[in-house]
């Protein structure tokens, strides 16, 4: 019951804020809605027993990446609204239509997988015996930060290092792009 | 005149220049100075000083006052160093009328001028440090300035605008025991100077904020017409007390501190040394105070002969000059012109701040030590 209330509240808020992000007229307002959206997603993660990821979501997304967005929005300091010039070939509602098609596709896939799942195991939803279940590292408990660390530094060590290389490259790239005189 | 930045239409478009008005309502422009800064990010690329917010027409006003009344107008120029203004004016008129000032009056004038230098430098130190963020020094310096003001109050009854001198001498002799108080103040001030220096001189942050900020070479400083500590900070040995002695400075022994690098820190050190030299001069003058009259032979009606004269003294801010033309007929000057050191030093601000950051602007306004009352007159 409590879980349902929390979920539906969060779901409505997350989707509502998502709509606000893409529909807000001022880019700064968009960024603000995005922050709140990310914070609520973090709360959702907490309800799903993923505290560490939730905290990382707040720290990296809300506290880092979105600040960067805000910074850029303030830096470019638009004198003319970007919506001023529109390509005449652009037809706005096709975008929505296409997105609706994507949504329909995704929902169809989800339902298809659920029904095939139900046919295989009477678990309702994704069963624990799907093929994915094998790549894990033991049972999950609420207090999982340590486990996550173990997994990250053993099974996923190479992807982890690659991710750090990616960040380094991105850092260098961002500096090269944004710096006025090298 | 428009003060907006002209749009540069170069092919390489850069982020916008930001034009901000620093002042006239700004806590660090030391009065109502307005500096129009053109910023690229935080870096200053251009600066314009807009002055005149407290222009009261003292020069024009003086042409309609008789010669004694002008003394009190000069109080209102550099209002943190009123006695030096009085001194410069009185000496100019004395030079014009060729009045001999008695030795005791000359000694006392020296004491007053040097006390005034200490008071003015206290105010400079406090506000300069405050601009850079050291708030405690402000309160300390004002505390000691208060003692100087007390001494002046006892001498002439006023604390800010003294009207402390007359053409030909002084209006009053010193009250009994005043010289002792001056000497004990010198004692106290020396200890307090060590306190200030302990807070600032070797403070790493202070050094970082002032070292190599606003560097100006000797030739350029002369070219800009700088005077006083900003000029001596660049290593130019120009001090009117030594070069063209007036009052009793020819009988005093003192050094003129000089800088080597010409940066804000050097100017700070020079003024700190000037505190000590002032104390030294005050000691010599008070201890060697001769007996005698305090007023020279001055005619009842002051009416200088026709002619013009220029006389300058070393005020705490720099060379304070008066140019007076008398037509020899009326009881007021025909033309009265002041060469205010703050105004001349302010001309260097644009050169000093260009290329520095916004935070340095306040440090540099502090280091040239301006008083807007004197700039605008």
């Amino acid at each position: 019951m409590a879980e349902a209330i929390v979920f539906w509240t969060l779901a409505v808020l997350i989707l509502g804020l998502g709509v606000m992000v893409i529909s807000a007229r001022s880019a700064v307002h968009s960024v603000l809605f995005l922050v709140v959206n990310f914070l609520l997603v973090a709360v959702l993660y907490v309800t799903l027993n993923a505290e560490f990821v939730a905290v990382i979501q707040v720290l990296v997304y809300a506290g880092g990446i979105v600040v960067l967005y805000l910074f850029v929005v303030m830096l470019v300091n638009l004198k003319k609204a970007p919506e001023r010039y529109a390509d005449p070939r652009r037809i706005a509602w096709t975008g929505t239509l296409l997105a609706g098609a994507v949504l329909a596709e995704v929902i169809a896939i989800v339902y298809a997988s659920v029904s095939s799942d139900e046919a295989g195991a009477a678990g309702g939803g994704f069963g624990a015996d799907t093929p994915f279940a094998e790549c894990g590292a033991g049972p999950l408990v609420s207090c999982n930060t340590e486990q996550l660390g173990w997994v990250l530094y053993t099974s996923y060590l190479i992807p982890f290092e690659l991710a750090s290389m990616l960040l380094l490259v991105a850092m260098v790239g961002a500096i090269v792009l944004a710096k006025r005189h090298l | 005149m428009t003060l907006e930045a002209p749009r540069t239409s170069t092919t390489q478009f850069d982020t916008d220049e930001l034009v901000i008005n620093m002042g006239p309502q700004h806590p660090s422009t030391h009065g109502v100075l307005r500096v129009v800064l053109k910023l690229d990010g935080e870096r200053v690329i251009d600066a314009d000083c807009v002055i005149g917010y407290i222009h009261r027409g003292i020069e024009k006003l003086s042409e309609n006052r008789d010669w004694t009344q002008i003394i009190l107008l000069t109080d209102r120029m550099d209002y943190v160093a009123a006695a030096t203004n009085n001194l410069g004016y009185c000496q100019t008129v004395e030079k014009l009328m060729q009045i001999e000032v008695p030795r005791r009056a000359r000694y006392l004038r020296t004491v007053l001028a040097e006390l005034q230098r200490i008071a003015s430098h206290c105010l400079w130190l406090g506000t300069h440090a405050m601009d850079i963020g050291a708030m405690t020094v402000l309160l300390y310096a004002f505390r000691e300035r208060e003692f100087v003001l007390d001494l002046f109050e006892e001498f002439c009854g006023a604390r800010l605008t003294y009207n402390a001198m007359r053409i030909g001498g002084l209006p009053l002799d010193i009250p009994p025991g005043w010289d002792k108080k001056v000497l004990s103040f010198c004692e106290l001030m020396e200890g307090k100077l060590n306190d200030y220096e302990m807070l600032l001189t070797n403070n790493r942050i202070w050094l970082k904020r002032t070292r190599d900020v606003g560097v100006i070479g000797a030739e350029e400083a002369i070219g800009l017409g700088l005077c006083g500590p900003p000029l001596r900070g660049s290593g130019v040995p120009r001090d009117l007390r030594k070069d063209e002695p007036y009052a009793a400075y020819d009988e005093m022994e003192f050094n003129v501190p000089l800088g080597t690098r010409g940066d804000t820190y050097d100017r700070y050190l020079i003024r700190m040394d000037e505190f000590r030299e002032s104390i030294r001069i005050i000691r010599q003058a008070v201890e060697g105070l001769p007996e005698g009259p305090i007023m020279g032979k001055v005619p009842r009606l002051i009416k200088p002969p026709a002619g013009e004269t220029y006389h300058a003294i070393e005020s705490p801010k720099g060379e304070l000059g008066y140019f007076i033309v008398s037509d020899g007929k009326s009881t007021n000057p025909y033309r009265f012109r002041v060469r205010p050191p703050s105004f001349c030093n302010l001309q260097g601000l644009k050169r000093l701040v260009t290329g520095h950051l916004v935070a340095d602007v306040v440090a540099l306004i502090g280091t040239i030590d301006i008083v807007l009352g004197e700039v605008d007159r």
Partner: protein, 332 residues
Amino acid sequence: MLETVVVPLLKIAVLLNAVLVAVTFLVLMERKVIAWAQSRLGPMRVGPYGILQAIADPIKLILKEDITPAKADKYVFTLAPIMSLVPALVVFAVVPFGPDPLYYVSDINVGLLFIISVTSIGVYGIILGGWASNSKYPLLASLRASAQLISYEIAVTMTLVSVILTTGTLSLVGIVEAQREGGLWFAFVQPVALMLVFIGGLAETNRAPFDLPEAETELTGGFHTEYSGMRFSLFFLAEYANMIVISAIVVIMFFGGWLAPFPNVPALAFLGFLPPWVWFIGKIFLFLYVFIWIRATLPRYRYDQLMGLGWKVLIPIAIGNLVVTGILKVAF
């Protein structure tokens, strides 16, 4: 129901009130301490020795006219002070004032990360406040602030990681317990980390000598130039609440939280006559005093020097400290 809802809510109510009252008295303490440092008396008129000034100040701020500049972004302008204050207060949810569950609202297993992440949200209030004012000085200040906070956050977080390495837990209660078991405050184990966190804390709370975003002599008050009345007081509250947070973090991480000095030395056991929360709050106030003392003593850094210090000095030292800690941890 009682255990899961009423008791935590009561705790939160008590804690919030305590923090807000503490902030008002902290302002009084700052005024008094700085006044004494400057050979003044400070507030003396309201109540004996000016004690009631702590109440008069908030009343004055609340009653003042609340001005919204004509060209400001109204919603963001109103939201910004709230966004600045809320994270500062939320952090107190995980601060343990004593060993017993009675003394904290919750002890979550990622407590330290929670504090780091929530405080990182506080930067929005400053950026948006400066932007929404639609004025040049606040905008400059908020750009300074965002760059400053993000830079120093990196150094502080990296330093805290080396402390986490020593304890092996992210729970704040666990960190204090580790110091009790070790018998030694981490201030002695990780002195470099202590200095880094404290300096970074000064920078993150915009306190002197890193008070550039609100340097009144340069930017005429910084990001809150256009604010007045209640909204200004929210910024004010946030700054002081953040000071308490940083002090609390330093005390928990390095000075044994609620523990008495040298908890394992029997000769000093008599120090236990004071309840744990008294030790904790006492230590916090000691650090708040240091904050104020520094403000009264030091000049202000310049923006480029501040960034240089953060990136070229603190972060390399933090990384070095982390590496050395890791090596020692593996070796012993």
